[in-house]
Symmetry: C2
Subunit: 448 residues, 2 copies
């Protein structure tokens, strides 16, 4: 009998594990159960599908079930896993009304995350959407195309909220972004950097309401018409909830598989759970922060794909560890690029690290180029040692991906001085002779 | 008496040293002698001045002599240093026809480099230019504006050659780029990557002639009319020589200050020469390659400014070392971005390092964005260890500065696997879930 690997969940993490393992060891018998109709899709693209940057769904599907089957991976969509029997190493699967047991030698939990939907009165009305699956995207766009909403409210100022606001505004829908906290992107950026994002939203004519809290919805004939908040009633023919996600770990919990931070499945650096022959990857699993060394829950496609790759290699004979993450993330609001990596000062404080910060505004390239933009770089470094801990960037085209240089530097445990010394690329159309991240580092070094 | 620092050469390296030292220790008496009329200018911007990206010279001058004087630095333009008397710690300076001796406690050689001009017959004709000083730029642009050349030949396929070809073509001048070797950018890129640059030049309607050698010039009434090469006679109302530079180290050599590689002034990691109280920075000085640890001569503004900064800090009491360079560089040809860092396979072979390489073509962002471009990443890693040694990138907008991530990784002595593990920023408008540099790394890791 070939070794049988069963994967629960057919998105990026699970299918990365499947394809990596199969490529390394074609003798493996790999089967993936996905409750939805598609596997391996780009959830991050849904806002751009809604905004018609991409016209059809096809480009959002990285690989079809058929393509996986041609690789020798048995993909079964429309299959819902209901139980994990870890004693007998089998799972109970339901499809088309019937249930059966499927045995496994190794089990990979890749059940992902589900959007947070508070129990607000009226939250299930017509016109209120979350942004998670391709089906969500299809329904939102269809709603726009058939109901022609003139006003929209996006609840939640995280990256999904920002991206949805931009893409609704692109339809000419008058959009309001509500955020409960005093700034947008509260878990991503410091307040000073977030205020630059506010400006970018305002430039797109998106209304931003901070410190605002949803109380309920005004519904007419089953359809949403307004959002009632602490501040006022916001007209809304369309409401998007972008309130973050939580791990879909109920199946694991019911099977007695230990959970960790924020109820994500606890894994060791090999991506194994605390139960023999059970692994977990992607949005259902916890990960580790590279700087603090502590468990962290980050539901991002990059993390999911990296974990899937490592698990797949380990399932086919390697003993690799997943080193961890920095929470690197990027998005845009119109022409404004927003990126971050590592610790914010608040994160650092929570980890008992004393820090110094600097915030420097400079330009993306030499100032005489017609397409030059402002770029603001904020750096966070440990007091005394000067070790670089994190960074935030907000600026025009060419700004955001500069975060990668800092992500590499933080990973390598470089100091602010090391960042100054880095031999980064310079030519007038790309940068000043000191790259903006180095200009910031030069300011910070004098404070340490 | 205050400690007196004398700087020879008022460009980036020298003036960085001056301003860094003065800022740290205002008690220092700092004087800078510059033979030309301006200090601290952006030589790298000259092609863009010629091409009218920038209309006036002012934006090319980072800081005027007057601004330095306000910082307390005594800048003397039009002053040529003729001798260094290292025994008596003084230099002989000539200005306005008179000579005098100036004493120093510390001397900083920042005399830069001069363009290579082969002794070709006719090379001093009207219409043949080098690209080094602002005055060169002014003369080239004036020549274009008054003589309306219809054809041009750029001799040399390095980055200055490429940038001049782009900017001459922008005037509608039919431009030919001549390169003696079998590829453009021979010291920058491998032949396979250089062929992509050829395509970019061709797309701009620049004619490229490889394996071609200048024999002389056809001159009519003192003005250039054509370039005679081994292949053919190329019509040329204008000729640009972009054949690289050599260090202006004659003054140092005559004073018995030891030279190193390519006749650049030998310096230790503190930027001191082998003669007491004499330092050297910028294009006149040698530097060290971070990967091979060997001396190397690289005349780039980034290196010059970094060396100037370190020397300035050391002149004001620090004992910092300049760690070295990777030869990171970037340029563009129309929309095509070209970047490199670290060792090419040929460099590695010369350093007795066995390498594996990979070249991967992918896309700058998710394929459905209308402004997506092709990006080709070539990685070089050491066989066995997998240590990342270098990279080359050619691609559309958003490609080039990705080299910085690899430069940071090479500096940190990361392996190809470490590059795969890096938490780089992903969102659909910026990258696929695996950044192109990681896609290349994933291909390479299987070869090691």
């Amino acid at each position: 009998m070939p070794h049988r690997i069963v994967i629960i969940g057919g998105d990026g993490a699970g299918m990365s594990a499947a394809s990596q393992a199969k490529r390394r060891d074609p003798s493996l018998d790999i089967v993936a159960f996905e409750q939805g109709p598609v596997v391996s899709y780009s959830a991050c693209s849904i806002p751009y599908y809604v905004g018609r940057v991409v016209d059809t769904m096809e480009p959002l599907i990285a690989r079809t079930p058929e393509a996986f089957r041609q690789m020798g991976i048995d993909v079964r969509t429309g299959h819902e896993v209901q139980l994990i029997d870890r004693v007998n190493q089998r799972i109970q699967v339901q499809a088309a009304g019937t249930r059966r047991w499927e045995p496994y030698d190794d089990l990979v939990l890749a059940t992902g995350a589900s959007p947070i939907i508070p129990p607000w009165p009226g939250v299930d009305a017509d016109g209120v959407f979350v942004v998670k699956t391709l089906e969500d995207g299809r329904r939102i766009r269809q709603y726009i195309e058939t109901r022609h909403p003139r006003t929209a409210v996006v609840v939640g100022g995280g990256y999904i909220g920002l991206e949805m606001a931009e893409n609704l505004q692109a339809w000419g829908i008058q959009t309001t972004l509500l955020e409960q906290q005093a700034q947008v992107m509260p878990t991503f950026l410091d307040a000073d950097m977030a205020s630059l994002v506010n400006q970018a939203l305002t430039a797109l004519a998106v209304t931003v309401s901070l410190n605002d809290e949803v109380l309920g919805f005004q519904i007419t004939q089953g359809r949403v018409r307004a959002v009632q908040t602490r501040h006022q009633e916001w007209p809304a023919d369309l409401v998007i909830l972008g309130l973050g996600v939580r791990p879909q770990s109920a199946l694991a919990r019911e099977a007695g598989i230990p959970l960790g931070i924020k109820d994500a499945v606890r894994v060791n650096p090999y991506l194994k759970t605390q139960v023999p022959h059970v692994w977990a990857v992607g949005d259902v699993a916890e990960t580790r922060h590279l700087v603090t060394g502590k468990p962290i829950y980050i539901a991002l496609a990059t993390v999911a794909n990296k974990q899937g790759r490592i698990a797949g290699l380990n399932l086919s004979g390697s003993t690799l560890t997943f080193s961890g993450v920095l929470g690197t993330a990027i998005t845009r609001v119109g022409p404004t690029e927003i990126a971050r990596t590592g610790l914010t000062p608040a994160d650092a404080e929570a980890a008992d690290l004393a820090v110094r910060t600097t915030r420097v505004e400079t330009e993306t390239k030499l100032g005489y180029f017609p397409d030059v933009s402002t770029i603001t770089v904020k750096l966070v470094a440990e007091t005394g040692t000067g070790r670089l801990l994190g960074a935030q960037i907000v600026g025009g085209p060419g700004s955001g991906k500069r975060i990668d240089t800092i992500a590499a530097a933080v990973t390598a445990r470089m100091t602010v001085t090391d960042l100054i010394d880095l031999d980064l690329a310079y030519a007038p159309p790309f940068s000043d002779v000191w790259d903006p991240v180095q200009v910031a580092a030069r300011t910070l070094v004098s404070k340490i």
